[in-house]
Amino acid sequence: MSLVPSDEQRQLADTAREFLRECAPVAAMRELRDGRDPLGYSMDLWSRMAELGWAGITIPEQYGGLDFGFAGMGLLLQECGRTLAASPLFSTCVLGASALQLAGSDAQKEEFLPLIATGGLRLALALEESHRHDPTGAAMPAVRSATGWRLSGVKQFVADGNSAERLLVVARSSGNAGDEQGLSLFLVDAGAPGISRQKLALMDSRNAARISFSDVDVDASCLLGEEGNAWPVLQQVLDRGRAALSAEMLGGAEECFDRTVAYLKQREQFGAVIGTFQALQHRASLMFAELELLRTAVRAACDAVDTNAAMLPLLASLAKARANDGSELITNEAVQLHGGMGTTDELDIGLFLKRSRVCMQLLGDSAFHRNRYATLRGF
């Protein structure tokens, strides 16, 4: 386990920061929003990210990836968080690629991983069936058919679900909602007959979707891993997702914090720079302390994917809970300390706040992760 980035990892982060500042500043995200872009991200940006190798960063070299490790992915997403750079990197290369790597057959890996690594295939994880994160809550039946399975039901809050070409669907081949046993994973063509997608206009202006499945026929070859036994894989996929999402949230919180501290040094009231007021200094210091602990937790979780899988569940929940609470604190304080301007659309602070609220719900809020942490620790 290593809690400090290697030289290569630092170089990657530096390059990413420069690239994103240039090609995907917050202004770019604002433009997509104002233009009501149906995709919510720029395909041009996505292909340039893929050219840089980002799409294949965790994928083994034999499948055309860089095999750079998950800690590198965390650093990339952290930088994306700093500029609110929208892209299918998280949904495709964290959730999708992880599921394929962990559960896919050799044939499936050979078919899909090289495509993902070059940015040629976008995936999304269709898991939730209610408005609260519930990883074992899938009730969607996967019924045996002559050629494979038939899926019917509705999936909520599918991140990047509106643009993905294939969907990773969690469905139930046996048992009841809430059971760990009986879950199966399918890789389904998003354009298959019976699938209808409704883009959700969420406050972060990205492209989450609600997806309905009405007697969707899925070929036997689309099953990922063992029938009825997807839970061990799904858990790992979700934990990787939590670690990666926490990294993005850390980046957003860092940027919000830096902008706020800069504002404290510049804004004058009562004939003084407001950063000289102790009441505000202490609030800034408390945010700094929160950020430092969050940096550690994010690093530990991302590093655990590469080096310590046994500790991943605990560390992923630690990171996500901290990222949720830290983001909430810092975005709220950022608004408050920017005063009236903080509540305007003109200032970027609000964009960070809105993105953080979506991330806070994705893959588990703090109550979920504290509960899980307690269970994992045996109390």
Binding site: V4, Q281, A289, A297, L318, G378
Partner: protein, 398 residues
């Protein structure tokens, strides 16, 4: 790499062979050995354990051998600490000399002072206390007024120091005194070593809300101290004091992490005092959430300490992370104590008597005594000032 692994294995073997079983049990305050002229060992095993560690130089592994250490590097010392924690070995000697004065003497002391004082600390012969705060100089430490006037080969000390920890049992005190009343406040201060047996010193223990008296007020009435006891330059004591305070803060930020050797953890406490399901789950959801918050905070603090060490080894990072640790560690330790009292309910309120177990009374009094953690060594508010100034570059009054 394999050298490190070999060293770790040999440390573990030595500890397993030499640390008596009784010294691998969680420790209570009454079982700590503090050394000094008046010190006594709480048990024969504690004495055996201390003497073995002393002879090995591992009481202060990083100090040079000539001063009673083992002359080891930072990494090897860390390994010893890690392994002691893993095997739950108790600290053989509790000492402000080791934690605070020693590092400052190694940095600022002259050869004679090091030879005179360091071996006594390493061998547990001299017990030290700290003379920093005064009744009128707490957070604003640099406004201290205890005077040291030069009279030939001596300083003559007049004034008083407060929160001198266990001064009633200490052999020596390291003190900040004003040697130049005319200079700007930080610039007229010197760092002095004073023998507590000197004529003119009186000590009055202070009873705290916990019922304990770990702290004293120490009065100096024309106390004569040889000029050779000055550490660092005359009027240059503030620099020594700041370096020493850094050691104190580091120490206090590690308080929570030492929990492995604590008699009673929050999780055990929850399981004993709260209803739990057949699978061992705490049934009260609110209490369980509080406990999870605490355990997660401790986990993050522990990992952050590890990150600070790794960053300093790799010479990366901002170097600013350490600034938050004293604040985070002490605030969380207070929270842990409040949580444990809350879980114990009325059993967590016992002051004394047979109706309460030792752990219950220790918890009740511990909750009270940990209030001092966020005050001593630079209060939480001072820590936040320091972060604002040093990490955030906010313009300040302090």
């Amino acid at each position: 790499m394999s050298e490190t692994t070999d060293f770790r294995a040999s440390v573990r073997r030595w500890l397993e062979e030499n640390c008596p079983a009784s010294q691998r049990q969680p420790i209570t305050p009454g079982e700590q050995y503090w050394g000094g002229r008046n010190g006594s060992f709480p048990s024969p095993d504690a004495q055996l354990w201390f003497e073995r560690m002393r002879d090995q130089g591992w009481v202060v592994p990083e100090w040079p051998q000539e001063y009673g250490g083992a002359g080891l590097g930072e990494q090897e010392a860390r390994i010893i600490k890690d392994e002691m924690r893993r095997l739950r070995c108790r600290s053989p000697l509790f000492s402000l000399g080791i934690w605070m004065l020693g590092p400052a003497l190694l940095e600022f002391g002259n050869a004679e002072q090091k030879a005179l004082h360091l071996p006594g600390i390493a061998q547990g012969r001299a017990r030290w206390c700290q003379g920093y705060s005064e009744p009128g100089a707490g957070s604003d430490l640099a406004s201290l007024q205890t005077r040291a006037d030069i009279d030939g080969d001596h300083f003559v000390i007049n004034g008083s120091k407060i929160w001198t920890s266990q001064a009633d049992r200490a052999d020596w005190i390291f003190c900040l005194v004003r040697t130049d009343p005319a200079a700007r406040k930080q610039e007229g201060i010197s760092f002095l070593l004073i023998d507590m047996a000197s004529p003119g010193i009186t000590v009055r223990p202070i009873e705290l809300i916990s019922g304990h008296s770990e702290f004293c007020q120490t009065f100096f009435d024309n106390v004569r101290v040889p000029r050779s006891n000055l550490v660092g330059p005359l009027h240059g004591g503030w620099g020594v004091a700041k370096a020493l305070l850094k050691h104190e803060r580091k120490l206090m930020s590690e308080i929570g992490v030492e929990s492995a050797t604590r008699a009673y953890g929050a999780v055990e406490c929850a399981k004993r005092y709260l209803p739990v399901s057949a699978s061992g789950q705490v049934e009260d959801a609110v209490m369980r959430d509080r406990l999870a918050r605490h355990e997660m905070q401790m986990h993050a603090i522990g990992l952050t300490q590890q990150r600070i060490i790794e960053e300093s080894k790799a010479r990366t990072g901002t170097g600013l992370t350490a600034l938050v640790m004293k604040y985070c560690g002490t605030e969380e330790e207070k929270r842990r104590n409040e949580l444990m009292v809350a879980m114990m309910g009325s059993q967590g309120l016992g002051w004394e008597g047979e109706e309460f177990s030792g752990a219950e009374i220790d918890t009740a009094r511990g909750m009270l005594s940990t209030k001092a953690l966020s005050i001593a060594g630079g209060s939480s508010e001072i820590q936040l000032n320091i972060i604002a100034k040093r990490a955030l570059g906010l313009p300040g009054v302090i």
